[in-house]
Every structure is written in C-alpha cells, then in structure tokens.
Symmetry: D2
Subunit: 342 residues, 4 copies
C-alpha cells in the first residue's frame, strides 16, 4: 500500500486518475490539490465519484505532499517543473502527466512550449514513461515523464517498423484524429459543443507540440533523425485517438509477425488480425492500444492503424501502469477495466 498525491485534480486526466486509483488495491489517495477548488469535496465537483472518493481538494500550499510515496502532476504544462525538484529531494517519486519532462533537449522544449524550463537539470534523470519501450528504466525511475496521447498511439504503431529498419524513415506520415477531451477541460470557444459537434477539422498542421516528442522517440528507435509529417484532427467524440500511419516499405518483411513478436507478452498492446479495423470504442475507458496492419492494393505503402483512449492509455492509465512498475506491483493491477461498449 502506497500513499499518493495528485496535484491538479480538476481536469480530465485528474478525474480519470481518480477513477483508476480509487479502485486500485495498493493505493491510498492521500491528497489532491486544486487552488481554485480548495475545500470542495471531490465528489461534489465530480458527482460520478459520489460514494467512491471521500477527499476534498486542498490548497497546494497546505498539502503535505512530502509524506507521499508518489505524486502525480495532472497540471497544465509548466507546473511540475517548478515543484518536482523539492519533492524528489524529499524522496518522493514523481509522475508528470504534462509535458515538462518529455523532451530531453531543453532548447527544443523551450521553443515548442514557449517558456523557460525551470528545472533543466532534471531532464537528464527523467525517464520517458512508455513501458513497452522503456520498462526497465521506469522501474527504478524517480521522475517519469508520462507520454503525450498522440505520441503514445503513434510511437507504438511505428516502433516495430523503425526498430526493424524496413521503412523509409524520411517520410513517415501520422494522420491522427482525437476526441475533444484531448483539448482538456478548458473554457474555450472552439471546443464548445456547438462548435465541435457534427464537425471535423484539422488543427495545428503547421506544428504541434507532440511532433518533436514523437520525433525524439522514433529517432531513438532509428538511431537517426526521422522525417515525420504529423497532422492532428479534432473529431466529434469525447474520448479516443485513431492514428492512421503511413510508411513506405523499403525492405519486405512479414509485418504481421514482426508486430506480433514485438508486442508478445505486452498486456496493453493488442495486435489484431491483419486487415482489422480497430475502432476507438473498442478501447474506451481501458488501458489498451489496439493495432492493425494493412497493405492496400499491393503497393509499397504500409498502413498501420493504432487506437487508444487518450485519457487512459494516453494519459492516466499509462501513469498507473508506470506507477505499478515503479513500485514493483503487478503491471496490470488496477488496470483490468473492460472497455465500455456501446
């Protein structure tokens, strides 16, 4: 049994963390902070948690997070980098669900996130929390950078191909579609129901912050810089990411076997039969990535379909998976939810 704290619990990754942690048999939620909602019972704020979570939000200044074994940051970008160092110094392990520690190159990070990094020295110690790629380093990590939602779906879909060196890494394409919860729980006009419903659009085609994160990961797999075109789209659903990945084959392989072998034994990556069309609802509210391969019309283009729930395998579920690894629990504990269908 470990004691965990959550900093910033009023967003969608926060409430998803609460849903998962409230049922985790090895976890006691010791504190959850919110500047704006200090004093409010969590279950008043999220009635879905009535009878399940008894805590109230507390002011960050009042929370004794140093007494926790682990603190999750479910905050906007730029918060964890200010507070993590003190917690780590106090022996508290940290998982940041935001982007503060995802990019190793501080100059790249500062360019894309538009601020100075408050703890550049921590970047070298931060472990990128994609367990299927980085499991052993996560086990002993003090500070885990939980991956972004798009980067999770895209990296898991491209990884086996790039490791195997059998596609043109200069012209990878990731055409990604996200549910609207990916934009967070912010009062912004463009994600209003009457704007985003019955509508579809691309956004940030010129450049999205997940582009350098994906390139960093795939570059590590390739041992070289990769060329990536990444186009995110907003689709009128609440949860879910569908990544449609295009890679030009440079060396023929049995790609289906390649993927099945790469992910054999992975509890949270499901390589479906060749020719499948995974849909996002098949992973709704569950910590799983489903992948299917296609080779349309006998051409040289391989198409990989990769789906996750952006709030679960793409955020809070993956964070719990990382926590399980860090504390020596069974990796699957607390993550056995079956997707909600329909």
């Amino acid at each position: 049994m470990i004691k965990v704290g959550i900093v910033g619990g009023t967003g969608y990754t926060g409430v998803e963390l609460l849903r998962l942690l409230a049922q985790h048999p090895q976890v006691e939620i010791a504190a959850i902070t919110s500047r704006g909602e200090a004093g409010t019972p969590v279950a008043d704020y999220f009635p879905s948690l009535r009878g399940k979570v008894g805590l109230s939000f507390c002011d960050p200044a009042q929370a004794s997070l140093e007494g926790c074994d682990l603190v999750f940051f479910a905050t906007p970008n730029g918060i964890a980098m200010q507070q993590a160092a003190a917690l780590l110094a106090a022996g508290v392990r940290v998982i940041d669900l935001a982007a503060d520690f995802r990019i190793a190159d501080v100059a790249v990070w500062e360019k894309w996130y538009g601020m100075n990094h408050a703890s550049p020295l921590l970047l070298a110690d931060a472990v990128y929390g994609l367990p299927e790629i980085n499991r052993e380093r996560i086990r002993s990590a003090q500070l885990v950078a939980n991956p972004g939602c798009y980067p999770t779906a895209v990296q898991l879909g491209f990884w086996p191909l790039i490791e195997a060196g059998c596609v043109d890494i200069g012209h990878l394409i990731a055409d990604c579609k996200s549910g609207v919860s990916g934009a967070g729980r912010k009062a912004e006009t463009q994600i209003l129901f009457a704007e985003a419903s019955d509508n579809f659009k691309a956004y940030a085609v010129a450049g999205h912050r997940h582009w350098p994160e994906i390139r960093q990961g795939l570059g590590r797999a390739a041992g070289a810089e990769v060329g990536l075109t990444f186009v995110p789209h907003l689709t009128p659903m609440i949860r879910g990411i569908h990544a449609t990945l295009y890679a030009r084959v440079t060396e023929e392989r049995d790609f289906q076997s390649l993927f099945e072998q790469r992910y054999a034994g992975e509890a949270f990556v499901d390589v479906m039969p060749a020719g499948s069309h995974p849909d996002t609802r098949s992973v709704r509210a569950a910590n799983v990535c489903r992948i299917a391969l296609h080779r349309p019309q006998g051409g040289d283009m391989l198409v990989v379909l990769s789906v996750i729930d952006n709030l679960t395998k793409g955020a809070a579920g993956q964070a719990v998976q990382n926590m399980n690894l860090m504390f020596g629990f069974d990796e699957c504990i607390g993550l056995s939810q079956i997707p909600v269908l329909p």
Copy 2:
C-alpha cells in the same frame, strides 16, 4: 463460484452482461448462445472483449444450459417464456432481461406485447427484480423478471412519494428521455446515426409497453390504480435515461428526508442534495440511480429527477445485482465500477 449461461449474447444487454460478469469473482461464464453467430469467438464479435472473454457463441441447441446454476435471457421478448420452464424444471434459476415475466396479468401482457404467452403459469412465481423494492423475494426466487429501463428510473423516483401517500396518484407524469442504445442493436432505419444524431423526438406517446409495467409497480405501492401519463423520448446519446417526474403534492412533507430515509442503506440509489441536477454521465456504465428533488417557484408541483444508465442499472447491472441476491453474495460484488467521465 457459480456457473452461468447467457441466452442471446449479441445485443447491447448481452455485451454489457459480459463486461460485468467477466470481472465478477464468483462467476464462471459457462456458455453463451447465439443462433446466428454460433462458432464465432465472442471477442471477434465484440473486440472490446479481446483477451477478456475466451468463449465462442454456441448454438442454443448445443448449449448444455441445464448444467448451469443460473441462466440469463438477454433475448428479444417472447423467447424466455418458451425456454424458462424446462430450465426451472432442471433446477436452473433464471433471470429474464426481456419483458416476458414482468407483467403479472397475462391479459395485459398479451395485449401490450401482441402475442400469446407461452408460460402463463410461471407468471405467478416470477419475482419482479427491483431489489430496492423487492429484495427479500428476490433472494429466494427461481425466476426473476428483470425490470425495464424506464420502469427502473420511474419507479425508484416515484416510489417514496406513493408509499407515503402524499401526492395525487391520479395524475402522475413521467417525461422520460432515453439514449439510443435503449432501442437495442437492431438494423432499423430510425435509429441510424444520420437519423438519431443531432435530433430529438418523442415516440410512442399513444402507448408504450413500459406504461403498464410502471403502473403495475406504482399501483402495488399505492394499493390502488394510479393514473400515469408516460412520454418517452429519444435523445442523441448512447447510454442513459433521464426521467423527469411530476407529482402534485396533496400533503406537505419534508420530501428530501422522505427520500433519504427510504433509500438509506441502498448501495445503488443515491439521493443527491435538494436542488441538484443529476446528469446521465454521472452514472455512465455504473449500476446506480441518482435522484434529486425540486419544488419550483413555490407551487404545489414536486419535480423528481431520476437518472440511470439504461444498460447497467436499467438492465445488465440490475440483473447482476439480482444474481448476487439470489446466490447469497454481497449485493455489491462485481458492481463497483465508477462511472466513466467524461
């Protein structure tokens, strides 16, 4: 550990039963039947169950349901009444999620369901499976008629008032809104996405089959016939029922206390603070009914808001709750899912 069978597993109540039972620690799913899909692995049909359910659908004729402790019927109306008698005779207990045993008066049933009842003699033994009303009889029942979705939300909302005799039972109004999954997984034009999305309508205002079921239940509470106007509507969401109930007060009470006391100790009925507005997502994919009371503008009309997930507390979750009672399990086992939000 009990062995259960499911007859008819390809619909929405079927897949919801599978989601709940696959994680129930006291249950082994022994067989699931489908005439049309015999031989198909369940997880091929519902990819959400990949890695969670290893069974294949089997032909009803091949399934040895007699070896089960309990059989659920997740079939269209008119099937259970043909097959239940043989199972009961073999000592198998039965929960029918369809309507075959919900109405005690066979003439009323035959009028509303448009067919002759195949097992009228069983009606006297069938127990109406609304645990909050009928818990003791359910424990010992051999045959449970699982309530309809609308009847669950409406009866739980009206029950305390009618028991207490403090409203005009001649003019009750239930204005109900259901998600589209309530219509089942049937290939019908009117429930296509392009018909039901971004649209709202009433249906069956002249008469809906849940009307006699609700009247039967409320009539038992009142000890007299009740006058009920029931208007169901189709609303563009997948899961959820929102019942807005209107009753004219004939005798003043502390209605909030009345409800809180009536449902004190009930794990699956949540009486919210007066003036709350429960939304359907606060119960999504969970076995709970949330209720809130309003007395607008000081008039004599009491407004009760009652929400459930039509597939969980309104169908499969309630069936599992009934199973728990019938087999002496803790009533809450396997039903602790936290609602999925957002």
Copy 3:
C-alpha cells in the same frame, strides 16, 4: 430595400441573422458591430459566410446606425435597453433579440435579470414579437421584443387551449429540451463538447428566466394568472427545441380542429396530423414550428408536442419575420429555407 444594422454579431443569433439577411432580397446590411472584433472581416470570423458577406465588424462607437431603417440587437441581455432609446429617437426601428423588452412589468424583469432596467419607459411601447399572436401590433411597432426560444415553442403549443378555456390553467407543465446552441457562444465549461455530448440533464429547475415570459404570455391569453411548471433540459444536439406540454382537459373539444383552425393561414406554424411525433430535425435551419397533439390512453391529460429551431423560429428567423411585418414586406420573404435533413 431597407438598410439594417446589427449590434453584436459574433454570437449564434448573429450569424444566423447574417445567413438569413444576406439572402433577403429587400435588405442591405449596412453595418454590423462588435467591440472585440472591430476591423475583422465577418467572413474571416465565420468562414461559412465567405463570398456571401463582404462587411467587416465595426466598433459600436464608429457605426452610424442612425442611418439605418432598422437595427437588430443580437447582444447579451442589458445592452439594447441602453442604446435603443437614442435609435428610436432618431427614427430607427429596433428589434431586440435579447430579453430587455420582453417583460412588461419592470419589477418582474429586474428580479429575474438581476439588474436595473435602463429604459423602463420604453417597456410600454415595446411590442412582443410573436407574430401568430400579435401580428397587427407588430406591423406598426417601433420597438419589437423578439421572444425567447422556449417561450416561442411553449406559447404556440399552449395558446389555442388557453384561448379556448378548455384546460386546467392552474397546473400547466412544460417539459422542454434544448440543443446546446441555446446557451449561446460563450466560453463556459458546462457547454464544452466533452461535458455536453453523450449526456442529458435538466437545469435551472428552481427557476429559469423564460418562466415569467411564458407566464406573462399565457396569462394574457387566459385573462388570468396561470400556474406553470417549466423544466428546461440540455440535450446533446446543436439546434432545436422540443417542448412536451401537459394540460389537463377540463372541457372536451375536438382539439385537433381547434389547433388547425387557430393556425389556419399561418405560414410558419404546421399542425401535423394527430398522433404525429415531430422531430427537431424536421425544422432544422427553418422558420417553422411543428405541433402535434396526443391524448394518451384515454386519460384526461392532453399532450402537445411543439418543435422549433431555437436559432431560427426561436430567434433570428422570427426576427426577420417581424421585420417583414414592420416594413410591409410579404411575411415569408427570405424565410423559405427548407429544413436541412439529415
């Protein structure tokens, strides 16, 4: 050809007005104001208007609205009451799509809208712009208070019954469901896609500002105070209101004929065959109210279903209809759009 101005054009009623007026053969849009977007071409702000509207938003202080024949206020509540007097004094006629002039009793208005009324003297001259009830007064009005969306659907549905004196006016019930655009184009958390989608809830059951407006109207029809319970709900669609109205019959009539006769000759009210279930998409983007009557199960409760598009017949379309009357145009000009289906 008349010159019109629009004050406040960045909301949903504003863009709907632009859609309708840009195609109206008798109208020249002379100016459209927005404090925040002054200088921005309207078609940059609303790309749906590219090639259709050449104007830019102008600063309210710069707009020479006094040169217009008519000014529409598509502003939040509380703006028109500050600016209308000067325009009227300059001989400009005014239609306010907000609520400033809808309630004749200034004390009632101030209570419900929570501010002092800036032009109480204008209230006596303001004409309530529901053409089917008030056509002659609208023709000569200088200042028209365009009705609210709920009040339009509810009043048109109840009016014939109350005029005829054949229902219990002490216990009217209006259970109303609105699309999310009814909440306006405001950056508020509760109307985000991820909050309002796949969800249903009641709101403001204790009291909604449209309650006194509806009561005022129905009270005029009855010549007496009416008792009304009004419960609004948010439904996950963009446009549309569905009002389900309940009235206890006190005197039998041929209600179908009563409605058909009351609305004979009305271009924008469609009394459907008895037993119909009008859906909101049958009026989407069109200036029409469809009504159907039901008498369920032979009881004494009459059920009236009334649907409109909240932005068209419930706002901008009705405003254009009022404009047509005020300037002696054919009432239907510019309002012949066929609903968009599916």
Copy 4:
C-alpha cells in the same frame, strides 16, 4: 423551366435533391419514384418537406419519365445502367448520382462493383460530372456520371498539383473522413447511432470503390497512372467529408498561387488563405469545396485540406450544378444556400 424526374427518392441524396430542386426557379419536379413507397406523399415520408413538395412517390412502372427533360437517378448502384438507355433513346437527358457510369473501363467497373454492366456501350458517351474539370463536355452531355463524394473532395484537392506536374504522383496519400450519411439510408447495424456515435474507425482500407474512380481522374490529369493510397474513415457526424491529402513535392512552386489561379472564377471552389483549417461545418448544406494548403515544418511534404458536404457538393448539389450547365442556366442558380452554422 424544365421538367425533371427523380428515380429513387427515399435516400439521403434523394431528399437533398428535393430540398434543392424544390427551390430552383427553373425546375418543375414532374415525378419521383419509389417502389416501396408508391402512393405515399413525399412530405409524409420526409416531414421536412411539408408545405414544400406536394408530390407523392409513384411506382417506377407508372411514372412517365419519358416526358421529362431530365431524369436524376438517386438509386443504389446497378439501377441506372438498366434504365438509362431507354430514357436517352426517348431524348431524355440523364444524371446518375450512383456509380454506374463513373468508370470508363468496364472491366475495372465490373471488378469493383461485383456485377456485370448492363449498358457498357453507354460508358463511352457518359461524361464525368466534375464541372471544375469537365465543364464544356458537361454542357452538351446527354448522360452525366455524377462523381462520388470522396472523389470530388480528393480530385479537387490534388488536381492543380498533378496538372502542374510538381509532385510525386507515385505516392499520393488521401486520408479521408466522412460523416455517416455517406453510407446511405440503409438499415445496417454498423451505422446505428449506438455504433457510430462517440466512435471513430477506418474502413475498407484494403480497397474502396472510390479508389479506381479517383485514380482514373488523377491519371487523366497526369497523363499517366498514379500511385494512390486511399484510406476512408467513418467519423461521428452526419454530413461532411474532410480529405487530408499528402503529396511529396518534386518541384518547388508558389502552391498557393497555383491553386488560386486554377480555381479563379470557380463559384464553388474556395481556396482559403494559406495555413487555414477549413472545417466541415463551414460547408454544411452548401455546394462548395473549401481548400487550404500547408507545408509543415519546412519538409518536402505538401498537405492539402479539402472539405465538402458529401450530400451537396459531393452528390445532389453537384448534380444540380451539372443540370444547370446542361440546360444553359446560370451555373449558380438554386445553389446559393449559405452553410448552416452552427
């Protein structure tokens, strides 16, 4: 004024044709056929047309289509090819909204559509009805093959690049997303609301019938075979197609100017400012294709975003545009609808 007939009017392209033609000043709808609904007033079937269309569906055998100037086929594939020859022989011009005459190579057609072509000799005379590409031939055509929805969006987006010879035509990628109405008004499980809502998936990745149609068109532009990977997806909205197109630049150009010049003077193609993100609602219910260009991160991949309403510019609107050309009307008559927003 011309007389037109519609064969097969109960689907979505049928009702969209009716919406447009009922308001077209040069058209009289003489007959609309439906085998299943013969005798039913069109406005009973589609209440959105009440008061707008007075016709009833008639049996195909009874309809005297030979008296029409033009007949539209809004039928499933395989019908028009059986009936067009007789109409053409009678001097009636024909526009087929289905796929029967879209592919010039009969062997290719028969392979993809899985049936023998009933009128292969007509293929040589059929004119592919994409006005921006084929305007002059359409003017004099007797038989027009109205393009598919995906092919309209994809061809308009790629055309200028291919004509100009400045991209790698061996590796074009079209990642397309369609609203659910694109699947037609068919009672199929997979397009039920509870299946398609809050969900996203690719389909037919192995091969879709629009692939050969797009390749045929682009091949004509290139004067050579093109390599195309086409992945269609189902997105939870009613109307709209969003095509995200990827082409590798082989020769630098001012691509923005290239597109603006190519489509200068086109009423129904809107080249937006570089860097725009057109959304599908900006074309909802209107006959327009909006296009925007991106060159992400300075790479050699050009990204073209192209959006249409699949039922309007992607079907019925384009058919009316073709009709206008064929009969010498102003190309824009009856097609000036402003998109419905929100």
